[in-house]
């Protein structure tokens, strides 16, 4: 009758040493539409794919400005993402009230991860169903972090989350060694290329993606659609010409690619292929 005895609440261990509810939450991140991030020494670029829930609706916002020096891109439950963004905005503004200086990115990320961790250890709570790419600039330079529903966080040179993100990851892995000394515009170009990798069949145009930049002398801001379109045209990366490039992610992207966020409720039906804990 019961397929899984050990996934009825977050705090219950499986004999194999897994927390299924936490893994389902991470599955929600995978189902959300893709978000990518990459950084040089001086800049961080975030990008995401905008997918509308239905033919009749608009898409949801996936990139949020937290402060002049920090921004996030999310994949998973947008509602959870907004709650966490508000929390981060609060922390930033309180810090600058007290110290009149920007909150170090690493500290904000730790606080955020601690918040997520608490939800994995309380029976009456549920983990956040959202993964956050946190881009920021502080005294020690440009940073890109990934924050996971499990309460884990990692710092990256470049990373991608969400549906079909494996293709973007492959692209980024091939090229990340050059990112460190990249110019801002090259970084944006690579961001666009990585976003394109996550598309399935659609034509790559500015209306289906959002790009944001933060860097030295450049407060976090979302690039407006015209600028993005111009860059797409300038770089001549309209896409589709090399459609097969989307293949490598066949394993991870799976059926979910079509429906963005709000799909976490299906997490329970995922079979043995549940996410490993190491992310």
């Amino acid at each position: 009758m019961f397929r899984n005895q050990y996934d009825t609440d977050v705090t219950t261990w499986s004999p194999a040493g897994r927390l299924f509810q936490v893994e389902y939450a991470m599955e929600a991140v995978k189902q959300g539409s893709a978000a990518i991030g990459l950084r040089s020494k001086t800049h961080v670029v975030l990008g995401c794919v905008n997918k509308a829930n239905s033919e009749l609706s608009s898409h949801q916002k996936k990139i949020f400005k937290v402060d002049d020096h920090i921004g996030v891109a999310i994949a998973g439950l947008t509602a959870d993402g907004r709650v966490l963004s508000r929390y981060m905005r609060n922390e930033c503004i309180n810090y600058s009230f007290t110290y009149e200086s920007p909150l170090p990115v690493g500290r904000l990320v730790v606080q955020l991860a601690d918040k997520a961790q608490v939800c994995t250890q309380r029976s009456w709570k549920r983990p956040y169903g959202v993964g956050l790419l946190v881009a920021g600039l502080d005294e020690s330079g440009a940073h890109l972090y990934y924050n996971c529903p499990s309460g884990n966080y990692f710092e990256y040179q470049a990373f991608a989350i969400g549906s079909r993100s494996q293709a973007a990851k492959t692209y980024l892995e091939r090229r990340f060694e050059n990112f460190k000394d990249s110019s801002r515009d090259d970084l944006v170009k690579d961001a666009l290329m990585a976003i394109r990798e996550t598309l399935q069949g659609e034509t790559f145009k500015s209306s289906i993606c959002t790009v944001a930049v933060v860097g030295v002398g450049e407060p976090f801001h979302i690039l407006d659609q015209n600028t993005v379109q111009q860059m797409i045209d300038a770089f001549d990366i309209v896409g589709e010409q090399e459609d097969p490039a989307a293949e490598p992610d066949a394993a991870a992207g799976q059926e979910a690619a079509a429906e963005p966020s709000a799909a976490a409720d299906q997490g329970g039906s995922t079979d043995e292929g549940v996410a490993p804990m190491d992310i």
Binding site: T98, Y99, E100, S101, P104, G106, R107, S140
Partner: protein, 245 residues
């Protein structure tokens, strides 16, 4: 805040806080602090007297302390309130260090924190009775600022609290320049402190000079200034001052 053990909490309009005690006037106070920017950082001077009212009650009160790696704090006013502020800052720096992530609070951050603490306490009608001087160097940036007991704050190239504001600032305005060497800076501070010693009755002739640079804080051993009281203007100070005795 010592709550007097009252019979029945007479919770009037002011709430249960109304019968608590606040600082209505300071008890043991220190007098002026003088500080200036120089070539490599900040120099600060303060004497070591602690006055109980107008009685010079204590003679070796240290009124300048290092705060973290990049800052130096000097205080005039209520000595015990200064000690409480130091406790706050010790905790602040401890928690900052516990992050152990390479970030640290600089003088600007500490100054702003103190501003918030001072203003917050005055809003509770329970001020910390001090004028604070905060100097420091971080990432090649020299910083010097002041906070008063009600939270008024500003930055400047040279600052002085209390009597120093009236007696030392004019000298500093006249003689201070950006490229003061260490020796010139000390000389200038000693000039200020000597004037204060002559004219401020609560100053004592035992002072320290502190220095903060990119390398860190050094606070000198206490020493005294050479004085000369035989100036003719000191002979009969009330002469020509109408109305004095």
């Amino acid at each position: 805040m010592n709550c007097m053990d009252s019979k029945q909490p007479e919770t009037g309009l002011l709430g249960p806080e109304s019968d608590s005690q606040r600082t209505l006037y300071p008890y043991v106070t220190g007098t002026s602090v003088v500080a200036l920017k120089y070539k490599d950082g900040i120099l600060m001077a303060a004497d070591m007297g602690g006055s109980y009212g107008s009685t010079l009650r204590y003679k070796s009160v240290e009124r300048m302390k290092p705060i973290g790696k990049h800052s130096l704090l000097g205080a005039s006013g209520e000595i015990s309130d200064f000690q409480e502020i130091l406790r706050y800052l010790d905790e602040l720096i401890l928690y900052d260090n516990m992050w152990d992530d390479g970030n640290s609070l600089g003088p600007k951050e500490v100054h702003n924190y103190l501003t918030r603490v001072m203003y917050n306490r005055r809003n509770k009608f329970n001020p910390l009775w001090n004028s604070l001087v905060l100097g420091g160097v971080k990432n090649g940036q020299t910083y010097l600022g002041m906070v008063s007991m009600i939270g008024v704050n500003f930055e400047d190239n040279h600052v002085a609290t209390g009597f120093g504001n009236h007696l030392a600032r004019p000298i500093l305005r006249q003689e201070w320049h950006e490229n003061l060497s260490f020796e010139e800076g000390v000389k200038l501070l000693e000039k200020c402190m000597r004037v204060l010693l002559y004219r401020d009755r609560s100053a004592v002739n035992k002072l320290q000079i502190a220095k903060i640079t990119e390398e860190g804080v050094t606070i000198s051993q206490p020493y005294s200034l050479k004085t000369h009281w035989e100036f003719s203007a000191f002979q009969n100070p009330t002469q020509g001052a109408v109305g004095s005795w």
